[in-house]
């Protein structure tokens, strides 16, 4: 499946794993040195917080969750890391708008993962126990370009049949959002369709997030990347299932 003008604004693929014994904030900085030749910049990101299982447990200052992105000089390719996951993101920028496709991004993650594993090995830390492989697509459908009002959603999504505009007075739909999740033979696909404002330019968008995840058979590299390929295949099928032919024609499916 290939599009000349896909709606994707950002992708993320990678692995979620159990917390690594002995990992602390100093490792995060030391790890950047290993990535620095490919990712010369960094940015701190809001950490993904877990709800503490023991509310009264003391705060371990050495393992405060820090989520950091190591960014290449184009700002489009980025590896984000927190104790618990390593992901490779691609994002659209005003200068580079073309999505390089999974086949090009996957080898980037392979390098990232290899660098990470080598670091753990050198520091005599245990290898990660991966619990989930995941691929996320964040698609932005801009109002005025892809849609005009919420009654247009049925032209974009097969799962949304919509309903008639309110007939009382001159009323119109102000907002529609929906989400669903379904389990496949292997893996899960989650879809969220939600109106939002993009902070960077103030545009109204429908954010169409498609996440495909799966538990790997083992934490060996071969199994992990095979699992990620399956996540990608599931996401591609789901994208075809949930978007209309009319929308895909607009995105110029090849």
């Amino acid at each position: 499946m290939e599009f000349a003008n896909p709606p994707v604004a950002e992708t993320s693929l990678g692995f979620y794993f159990q917390k690594i014994e002995g990992w602390n904030v100093l490792h995060q900085g030391a790890l950047w040195e290993r990535f620095r030749s490919r990712y010369s910049e960094y940015e701190f990101l809001p950490p993904i917080m877990e709800i503490p299982s023991q509310p009264n447990a003391g705060l371990d200052l050495a393992s405060i969750p820090i989520r950091v992105g190591f960014t290449d000089n184009t700002k489009t390719q980025l590896v984000q890391m927190q104790d618990g996951f390593l992901l490779h993101n691609w994002r659209k920028t005003p200068e580079i708008r073309e999505y390089p496709r999974y086949e090009a991004v996957n080898p980037e993650l392979q390098q990232d993962w290899s660098t990470f594993r080598a670091y753990l090995h050198e520091r005599s830390l245990k290898g990660p126990v991966v619990t989930r492989c995941q691929m996320d697509y964040f698609n932005h459908l801009v109002r005025g370009e892809e849609w005009q009002d919420f009654s247009d959603l049925s032209n974009l999504f097969t799962v949304w049949n919509g309903f008639r505009q309110p007939t009382a007075g001159d009323g119109e739909l102000q907002m529609v959002s929906f989400s669903f999740s379904y389990r496949l033979k292997s893996g899960t696909v989650n879809v969220v369709v939600q109106p939002a404002i993009r902070k960077s330019d103030g545009k109204e968008i429908i954010q169409f997030t498609l996440s495909s995840s799966m538990a790997p058979k083992s934490s060996e590299d071969k199994a992990l990347f095979a699992c990620l390929d399956e996540c990608h295949d599931n996401a591609a099928v789901a994208f075809l299932d949930f978007t209309t032919a009319q929308a895909r024609e607009r995105w110029k499916q090849k």
């Binding site: 996320d136 404002i197 330019d201 545009k203 109204e204």
Partner: protein, 151 residues
């Protein structure tokens, strides 16, 4: 939380709650404030069908101005402000006004300008604070809102 109980709270407007990990691009969902969908609909209406009134002027809001107001809304929708209202004015600009009793906090957006003019006025229409603000000053914006809510 009512506005009157917000005295001791300082709002951190720099990190939106709605970023879905592992997403990087920051977006603010319509549902982040109960009044947001309705206000956005009003703003769209001013963009698309704003009126040109003889003797008063052209009250259509320029697209770039509306984009700028929406950028502001991504920040202030996180604060417990009362529902703002829009007041377009001739020349393509628009003011966003929050009122508590007779007090008003106003942010004014002008065409082709990413800055906002703000003013905070008391019950007697006396200006308590005013100036120029950009969205790259989240701390200043948080201070303004805190001050307005805590008087």
């Amino acid at each position: 939380m009512s506005a009157s109980t917000a005295t001791a709270i300082r709002f951190d407007l720099s990190i939106p709650d709605s970023v879905r990990p592992p997403q990087l691009e920051r977006v603010v969902e319509f549902e982040s404030a109960r009044w947001l969908p309705s206000l956005l609909a009003d703003l769209r209406s001013l963009e698309a069908r704003g009126r040109n009134i003889d003797g008063i002027g052209d009250l259509r809001v320029a697209n770039t101005t509306a984009d700028n107001v929406r950028r502001l809304l991504t920040v202030i929708s996180a604060a417990p402000l009362p529902e703002p209202r829009l007041a377009p004015f001739s020349g393509g600009g628009v003011a966003l006004i929050c009122s508590i009793g007779g007090r008003e906090l106003t942010f004014t957006a002008y065409p082709d300008n990413r800055d906002f003019i703000y003013s905070d006025s008391d019950e007697n229409d006396e200006i308590v604070a005013d100036g120029v603000l950009t969205l790259e000053q989240p701390n200043r914006l948080a201070e303004l809102i805190t001050s307005f809510l805590s008087r």
